[in-house]
Amino acid sequence: MAKITKVINEAEGIKSVFLEKRIDAKPGQFVMVWIPRMDEKPFAIGYMENDSFGLTVAAVGPFSNKFCSMQPGDAVGIRGPYGTSYNLGNCKKVVMVGGGYGSASLALLAQDARKKGIDVIFIAGSRTKTRVIYEDRIKKITGKLIITTDDGSYGIKGRVTDAFEDILKKEKINKVFACGPEMMLKKVADICTAKKVDCEISIERWLKCAYGLCGHCCMDPLGIRACIEGPVINAKLAEQLTEFGNYHRVKSSRKEKIHV
């Protein structure tokens, strides 16, 4: 069990919960959070400090609401880190596209990129002004941040993918990293495929065991597991997945159409 050290408000309905545990994780990896007698869910690591780490959580269901309402001193079970991570390679200039709380794992990656002297253009999209997260944090890391909101209440009005397409037209970019809602990921992957720009995305599926055993997160038609071969996969691989941007499997394993 790991103790909660602090909880910070990131935006309306989005909090970051910090846990007292040293964790050796790479950007893009996730941990499983256990609330005894309730459930256990995966969360991407959003902050890494010396003896603690932070998870950015949107309160959307019973589990995330409970987790967000916890106080310093409360404890949850933590196992991990699990899964694949982003690969910066020898890039000179990269773009990061974050949708909503998808910016969490990318903020960590941006830190690593700046340490390596890589230029980062960070584009963060939100539904509306009150849902914008990490503004000061990312500006501090990268020096510049492009914000888009669907309703135009803050930053550029429109989809994050439109702002992304504009950047690709203007700048010479070595690689793109994206994390957020699946339809956004699909759009980013499609744009990168068309422009022949290397791209990695972080794909989300219903995870049960995270040990690579239960098979619940296997993706069609290759059967690769989101918890072991993912969550970070190259866009070329993602484009081979017929279910990418199309459907996912619910708790029973029945297929369900993806809308966002």
């Binding site: 007698r37 459930d39 256990e40 055993l213 239960c214 098979g215 296997c218 059967g223 499997r249």
Partner: protein, 305 residues
């Protein structure tokens, strides 16, 4: 070169490693994924009559000898799963075995009849899931007349050869094996996981959401070997050994006890999805080093005085 091929009810396997039910094989593509990684055959996750969500997480609890699991038989129901099995049958380089379960004896027959339309070369009848007792009561495999009745019903509803999957936690597994063999099962697989629990001592709470589950992994291998050994003495049908097979020598041990093939599940956590290729290679090396020309020569040799 040594011959590590084997067969179950005239279905030929190029090697004796089989993906165990409940592990990875949720979808058709997941089964093909395991087959492409070297599994000599693949068993689907158990398919029931209707959609089931299974238990909340955690569904697996790790301990030093393996795992305790209570996934709770999630599946999308036989109608939704037909296409998954069809996809696997069409695309898998190795034979596909459909695993079925039911909440009642009659439901086993219904699922067997429906899934047969997807034409898997073999059907495994899961009589022994230990983590759904809240919904279904104790596993049918704990009671010889119940197990036999289900086998009889399934046989009446399919022409495909069937494998009865047995539980280890019975007073005399020979009695159960004889009952299902007399009822007409074409093969027996043993063992399913055996009941267990892991408690988190910091919170004083069972780790699994379902509290109890089934133990898998190296801890149950000797239990499985004895069950296979006993079943081999009791009946004449082919046996598939399951329980803790992680290395080639474990598979050999199962075969010497009387199995013609060995299923692998938990081992994937220890050695990756490539475990099927690794174990096959190790089986081949063992046979070569010990002067055997084929795997079939080793089946049941531990019974010789």
């Amino acid at each position: 070169m040594v011959d590590i091929s084997t067969s179950i009810c005239n279905v030929r396997l190029t090697n004796p490693t089989i993906l165990a039910s409940g592990i990875v094989g949720v979808s058709g593509s997941a089964l093909v994924f395991a087959a492409r990684n070297g599994a000599g055959a693949v068993v689907s996750k158990s398919i029931g009559p209707r959609e089931r969500e299974g238990h909340n997480n955690p569904v697996l609890a790790e301990f030093e000898g393996g795992f305790v699991n209570a996934v709770g038989l999630p599946n999308s129901g036989v109608e939704n799963t037909m296409d998954e099995i069809r996809f696997a049958v069409r695309n898998s380089p190795s034979p596909v075995i459909a695993s079925i379960f039911g909440g009642t004896k009659e439901e086993f027959g219904i699922v067997a009849e429906r899934i047969s339309a997807a034409a898997p070369p073999l059907i495994e009848v899961n009589l022994s899931c230990p983590n759904t007792t809240t919904d279904f009561g104790l596993p049918f495999a704990l009671c010889a007349p119940d197990a036999a009745k289900i086998i009889e019903i399934v046989k009446n509803n399919t022409k495909i050869p069937i494998i009865a999957k047995l539980a280890p936690n019975v007073p005399d597994i020979k009695e159960i094996a004889k009952a299902v063999a007399e009822a007409g099962c074409d093969a027996i697989s043993a063992i399913n996981t055996t009941p267990g629990m892991v408690i988190d001592v910091e919170t004083a709470k069972p780790v699994l959401h379902n509290k109890e589950g089934g133990v898998s992994g190296p801890a149950i291998k000797p239990v499985a070997v004895k069950c296979v050994y006993d079943i081999y003495e009791a009946v004449d049908v082919p046996i598939i050994g399951i329980g803790g097979v992680t290395y080639g020598k474990d598979a050999i041990e199962m075969v010497m006890a009387g199995a013609c093939a060995a299923q692998i599940g938990t081992g994937i956590y220890y050695r990756g999805i490539e475990i099927f290729k690794k174990v096959s290679r190790e089986v081949e090396e063992f046979l070569l080093q010990h002067g055997y020309s084929k795997l079939k020569d080793v089946i049941g040799i531990a019974h010789k005085e």
